[in-house]
Subunit: 369 residues, 2 copies
């Protein structure tokens, strides 16, 4: 039931004849969306569909259900198509919305502070702008990046990263543009949800980050799942997380914009963490409200991500930085090997489900850079 | 001679009939570029031209000179056209490449440190990803952003910024895509130069920046000049800045990628600073080499900017943060008023020239947000 009639995520694929088309996934097959609305999906991607907004999203979903139920059109086997990025990425923003992740980072990098969270953290969803041009679709190989960091003997060198990490995140895809979007209006602008892996080179990141934050330690690649699950499919997963102190009025939660998603992170087939998205401190609606509160406009195709999803238990931590405590505590894989950081050849898969709804996985294999 | 046959910057304008067209500026008039190459400029912007690379840039420039010299086509008065963004912005990156600016920021925000520069600063051009969707063309009004910062009475509030600043910068426009671009190959990928104002809300920025850097304090708006000066026009302005220590091999300067540009920053017509770009520590070729050294690719239409251009003298500082020493030392305008930060109604203009070559100004007026 993971890919049943209640799920129906959207993507874009290249078929056996080399033609790109927009598709919805149903079981182990895809339906070409142009059969449901030829105009909206003529270009082969989701761009026009995303821009059209919630009324169109609901209409198309209903028509897809009708089409599948009536068995009106032939499906294409999933094995015969290759997913590509389903829309043109606008701006990519990455948040830092997990309290456990932020606190663990504080404990690792600023030990001795009474509060591991920075003073701003409970006041606003902290985030930064990422590199949209480096977003790649799930399945793309990830070349180990090189960069500057102190070598074993002291001086700064330029070398392949020795601390390559994954970050298991949940991303949100923007539909119609807007600015100063109220928390209560978020669902007018957010089409859906997909998994994201924000690959990170911790040594490069650590050396470069003062005073302007992460840059080349992140910008080499960000992997996005091939299938976007519409918010409409996740109604039963909605939840609301208590916040203390209550945010300022423009960030106050008005509904239930949390989502109970159970993530799993695996390396070479071995599950190393099971983060729970339902406990994230800041909701996607609050992220979007904050992002646009200064007058910045979002555009169709903008992607904003949650930051690493981590829970309170060690087994719920969504990156190796936390799982291995910055390399001090290696984790064992089932094959008799252990990891502090990712090695060449490692295959990382982040998957998730919300009850019967399976999210499209985000996968990537490390290659020698 | 500021807009003579040796200059010929490129832009995109809307004419009296509402039609958008790509244009080159000559004196107080513009030539429609489709008259020189109908295919390349058919879409009204510079996107295809930028992607075409140096051989095409040189050919088109020679043909424009021929056309203007032969008086072959009618020109359109500059007063009859309205500039728009001349190409689709890919990713926008902002560097921090002025030693004097970086050192002044260090002295203001981290007083007591022996070295006002962070440990990484002389090893690499420090930078961060900005918000491409917030880039607007010169002349666009800038609404004062609101955001979170501590109020006079202590608690964090959400209010219009009280510390609105300008940053006079020089930006570079990417033509053909590439990755791991060597310093010596930069000119194969950089089409030209234009002024940029990286508007900044210092109170919002100060509260949000730990630990991930600037975000909403910058993302509300970034103004780009309407006219892009090709590097080909700036051959006589080239210079080379000594660096100590010598950068690592992949960042080592191979030619003369510094540019002697004399900037002027005015508020309401009064010049408040005259920064010199020729003394910037890191060159645009080094910025591009660094930006792509981790495997990140640049795309056609990417923009990367220098960061605030500041020289050693107080009168050469390119932002109010430095000019007023974080608000402690107001500057006098010629009209009997003084400023610590920008006020509603203020008109900021950044202009520049390199000998006879005038760069397109970047202008913006502050409106109540």
């Amino acid at each position: 039931m993971g890919w049943g009639i209640g799920n129906l995520p959207y993507g874009s694929v290249v078929g056996p004849d080399g033609r790109r088309f927009a598709a919805v996934r149903f079981g182990d097959a895809v339906l070409e969306l142009a059969r449901v609305d030829a105009d909206l999906f003529a270009a082969g991607g989701l761009d026009r569909f995303l821009a059209a907004g919630p009324a169109t999203w609901s209409r198309v979903r209903a028509e897809v259900v009708d089409t599948l139920t009536a068995d009106r059109h032939p499906l294409v086997p999933l094995a015969d198509v290759t997913p590509v990025l389903p829309f043109a990425i606008g701006d990519y923003v990455d948040f830092f919305a997990s309290e456990h992740h932020a606190a663990n980072c504080g404990r690792i990098f600023r030990p001795g502070n009474t509060d591991p969270l920075s003073a701003n953290w409970r006041h606003q969803p902290i985030g930064y702008d990422g590199r949209a041009g480096s977003v790649v679709v799930s399945g793309t190989d990830i070349a180990r990046p090189s960069g500057q960091f102190p070598g074993d003997d002291g001086p700064i060198g330029f070398a392949p990263t020795r601390r390559l990490d994954l970050e298991a995140e949940v991303a949100f895809v923007v539909g119609p543009p807007g600015t100063r979007i109220a928390v209560a209006e978020a669902d007018e602008h957010v089409f859906g949800v997909c998994l994201l892996n924000d690959w990170s080179a911790r040594d490069i990141q650590a050396f470069e980050s003062a005073p302007l934050g992460p840059f080349l330690g992140k910008s080499f690649a960000t992997s996005l799942a091939a299938w976007i699950t519409p918010l409409e499919a996740l109604a039963a997963a909605r939840t609301r997380v208590p916040q203390d102190p209550e945010p300022l009025p423009h960030l106050r939660e008005t509904g239930a914009h949390g989502l109970r998603l159970d993530l799993a992170v695996s390396i070479n087939g071995q599950v190393v963490a099971r983060p729970e998205f339902g406990s994230m401190y800041w909701s996607y609606a609050q992220m979007l409200a904050h992002l646009t509160s200064n007058g910045a406009a979002v555009r169709t195709g903008d992607v904003f991500a949650s930051g690493t999803v981590s829970g309170p238990a060690r087994g719920q931590r969504g990156c190796l930085l936390e799982l291995t405590w910055n390399g001090a505590e290696p984790i064992e894989l089932g094959d008799g090997t252990s990891r502090t950081w990712l090695e060449d050849g490692d295959e990382v898969v982040v998957s998730a489900h919300a009850g019967d709804i399976t999210l499209g996985e985000v996968a990537g294999r490390i290659t020698r850079g």
